[in-house]
């Protein structure tokens, strides 16, 4: 549990592991010190869907057919295909109104790797290509080859050759611009160039080893940014320091909306504690004059017998988290706690979080209580119910995570209300049907219910361990 993991988008370690678990539906919501929020380029108050960056074993393919809708509304159909072989793997999604529609194909050969379609690369610390992490994060979750979620930075072609030394070529459309990029690296030192069709050019010089990473990015008008990350072991704790500086007007050509604050300083640590694990992070940032913020967060986790988990966190935040204007309170204190355990055939998760605009979390701006109960029945049948009661003050954005069969949806809610989600998963015809029904109630009355149905089937070469056989013997939890 690294302190950098304390954040909206989190990153490996416990937070991301739990986010992943949340997508699988194991818990009501991931362990996070605050409600999950979509990335900055997503419109505030709109639902956001993220696609997990899992991959199939070699020789497998997966077909998915789905439909979703709401009471009295139009039915939206989706289709998806995933396949993986030793040298070729890909994902294609189709569906009107599906934010994840599109796809990518990756080919591997001795001369290099070629990716066509949707791209989310990351160079260095992400100042030029990819996204720089929020000040309280280590890395973003949806950029780079080891991201937890498959990002949607742009579309085009990416060729990569070499390991310790090599070259990467990039051509595609990012942020409504046609861009071409070149990256050369050797012995941990990398030089990157990015150019647009209208003459814009940006460059970056980065360095990385097992514990430290840094990047300097610049453009032709002389604006620049630099960021460095250092990690050291102090006893059994890992202490991290991250610093960023530069011109407030610098914007990456590839992802201008994710440029983040121009200046930031963050210190964090994580390690064992008498009760289990603990982490802390303190961060300061500044977008430009008058638009700055600070954050202090502590979290702990205790894993008891039979894998029962108790997690908690407290946090105080000042100022702005985003560069764009927001109605959110400039001062915020909050606390959250979560307990979960599996005792077959049941799995129970309870979570409560509360945030206030005054000291000691008074003047509640948002409070969310979530319960998720799962039951596994014979023949691979799974049932689950998730219920959330939320309360948010005017202007506060609140997102409730909902794990669907092929995506994690951050459902935007506001005001006060309740949401219930009932899920069932039944093995059938060599695959699995998953169905979900969502009921939502606001203080003013009931909202139209939503539903979704999905059929997934995997297959593969003879001898490959297919998901079809897994369906019958060891069904994954909802």
């Amino acid at each position: 549990m690294r302190p950098w993991a304390i954040g909206r988008h989190g990153q490996p370690d416990v937070f991301i592991a739990l986010l992943w678990v949340a997508w699988l539906g194991l818990v009501a919501s991931p362990v996070s010190p605050e409600p999950l929020e979509p990335p900055p380029e997503s419109p505030e108050g709109a639902d956001y869907a993220a696609e997990p960056a899992d991959s199939l074993d070699g020789g497998l393919f997966e077909l998915g057919l789905g439909a979703s809708g709401r009471a009295g509304g139009e039915i939206q159909r989706r289709r998806r295909v995933r396949f993986a072989d030793d040298e070729l793997r890909g994902t294609v999604r189709e569906g009107r109104g599906d934010p994840l529609a599109g796809g990518s194909v990756e080919g591997r050969s001795g001369s290099g790797d070629l990716t066509l379609g949707r791209l989310a690369p990351r160079w260095g610390r992400g100042l030029l290509v990819g996204s720089p992490a929020d000040p309280w994060q280590r890395t973003p979750t949806d950029r780079g080859p080891r991201a937890t979620f498959r990002g949607r930075a742009g579309e085009g072609a990416l060729y990569r050759h070499g390991d310790r030394e090599g070259v990467e070529l990039l051509a595609g459309r990012f942020a409504r611009r046609d861009l071409a990029g070149l990256k050369l690296w050797r012995s941990g030192l990398a030089l990157g160039l990015l150019a647009g069709t209208t003459g814009e050019v940006q460059g970056s010089l980065s360095r990385a080893d097992s514990a430290d990473a840094s990047e300097w990015a610049w453009d032709l008008s002389g604006r620049w940014r630099v960021e460095g990350l250092a990690e050291r072991n102090v006893g059994q704790w890992v202490i991290s320091v991250r610093a960023r500086g530069g011109h407030q007007g610098f914007r990456s050509l590839a992802e201008p909306l994710r440029s983040g604050p121009a200046r930031a300083l963050a210190v964090g640590g994580s390690g064992p504690a008498p009760w289990g694990r603990a982490g802390a992070v303190a961060a300061l940032w500044r977008f430009r004059s008058g638009r700055a913020g600070a954050r202090l967060a502590l979290e702990g986790q205790f894993v008891g017998r039979d894998r029962a988990v108790v997690a908690w966190g407290v946090e105080e935040q000042h100022g702005l988290r985003r560069e764009v204007p927001s109605w959110s309170a400039p001062f915020r204190q909050g606390a959250w706690g979560e307990w979960r355990r599996a005792a077959r055939p049941l799995r129970l998760s309870l979570r409560h979080e509360m945030w206030g605009e005054r000291a000691w979390a008074r003047g509640v701006t948002r409070a969310v209580t979530t319960v998720r109960l799962e039951a596994s029945a014979p023949a691979g049948i799974g049932l689950a119910a998730t219920h959330s009661v939320f309360h948010s003050k005017r202007g506060e954005s609140l997102y409730l995570p909902e794990g669907e069969i092929d995506r994690l949806v951050l459902r935007a809610v506001s005001g006060e209300g309740e949401r219930s989600r009932f899920e069932a998963r039944v093995p059938i015809a060599g695959g699995r049907i998953s169905a979900a029904l969502e009921l939502a109630t606001a203080a003013a009355g009931r909202k139209p219910s939503r539903w979704s149905v999905d059929f997934t089937r995997r297959g593969g070469k003879r001898g490959s361990r297919s998901a079809t056989s897994r369906n019958d013997s060891d069904p994954p939890p909802l």
Partner: protein, 297 residues
């Protein structure tokens, strides 16, 4: 019931103003004055005006500590199955807020076989002419370490009121978190349809600690639609056991209030009584008599 809400706003305001009560309470009293089935609305308006915890249960409310769950009443009311399997029935009588006309009578039957638990019951609240009847059922599983159940109640208003039906479906679950420490959750109204239930019930999270003779519990209930800035209620209590006798104390906030209960068991029979005080609405008295016909002791 819903059509009554659409009556002229002026008259509602008038009733509330004359009686010097909050408008939400005034609405229920106004319906009483009109001689229609106002009893569900008393519960609803009282809950809206004073918080969700006026009564944590309604149709099958029995006098017992909220934790640990025992008896078929708590299974039918909150979806919390007990550890022990047994065939048992309970007769419960609840007089709400000291109002003789606002009384709930319920008969609940429960049974268990291996890990399966079921309960069903009938209840009647208020006068047969203007009250409502409830039919409840619950089914779930439980063992030493965990339990969960689905529960539902179907309600029908008195015949004089046009048979306005409604139902609610919810669930409850508990699990052992550590030795002698348990957590539970209950969401009795996940799904409601038709006529509104007399009381809105929220999402409850609780933790219980037990020893051989003393049990303690605390709970947090989140609810939508409370007046002002309120959105949750907290409760806690202690229970002391001494042989066949048990005494428990409860406390709740919004507004701060408390209750006391006592139960006694002899052979297979159990009698219990509980009084919940309220600074504004008065006392709620619950009585119950139950018999265990078989199953584990």
């Amino acid at each position: 019931m819903i059509s009554a809400l659409r009556r002229p706003r002026v008259r509602r305001r008038h009733a509330a103003t004359v009686l010097g009560l909050p408008p939400t309470v005034g609405l229920g009293v106004w319906r009483l004055a009109l001689g229609v089935s106002a009893l569900p609305w008393i519960g609803a308006t009282v809950a809206l005006a004073f918080g969700p915890g006026v009564a944590a249960a309604q149709d099958f409310s029995n006098p017992a500590p909220p934790w640990p769950p025992s008896g078929p009443g708590i299974l039918a009311e909150g979806g919390l199955p007990g550890r022990k399997e047994a065939i048992a029935f309970e007769f419960c009588n609840t007089r709400w807020f000291g109002l003789p006309d606002l009384t709930t009578r319920a008969l609940v039957l429960g049974a268990g076989w291996r890990a399966f638990r079921v309960a069903g019951g009938l209840s009647e609240t208020g006068d047969p002419e203007i009250g409502w009847k409830g039919l409840g059922a619950a089914a779930g599983i439980a063992d030493r370490f965990a339990g969960a159940a689905v529960r539902g109640v179907f309600r029908r208003d008195a015949r004089a009121f046009g048979r306005s039906d409604g139902y609610e479906v919810g669930l409850g679950a508990w699990m052992e978190a550590a030795e002698a420490l348990e957590v539970w959750t209950s969401a009795p109204q996940l799904w409601t349809q038709g006529a509104s239930p007399p009381l809105r019930r929220g999402l409850e999270l609780g933790v219980g600690l037990r020893s051989a003779q003393v049990k303690g519990w605390a709970s947090h209930t989140s609810l939508v639609g409370l007046p002002g800035a309120g959105h949750s209620e907290h409760a806690g209590g202690l229970s002391f056991d001494s042989g066949p006798l048990a005494v428990w104390l409860t406390a709740r906030d919004h507004p701060l209030r408390g209750g006391i209960g006592v139960s006694a068991e002899a052979r297979r029979a159990r009698v219990a009584a509980e009084i919940d005080g309220h600074p504004v609405l008065g006392e709620t008295v619950r009585l119950s008599f139950g018999v265990r016909l078989g199953g584990a002791p």
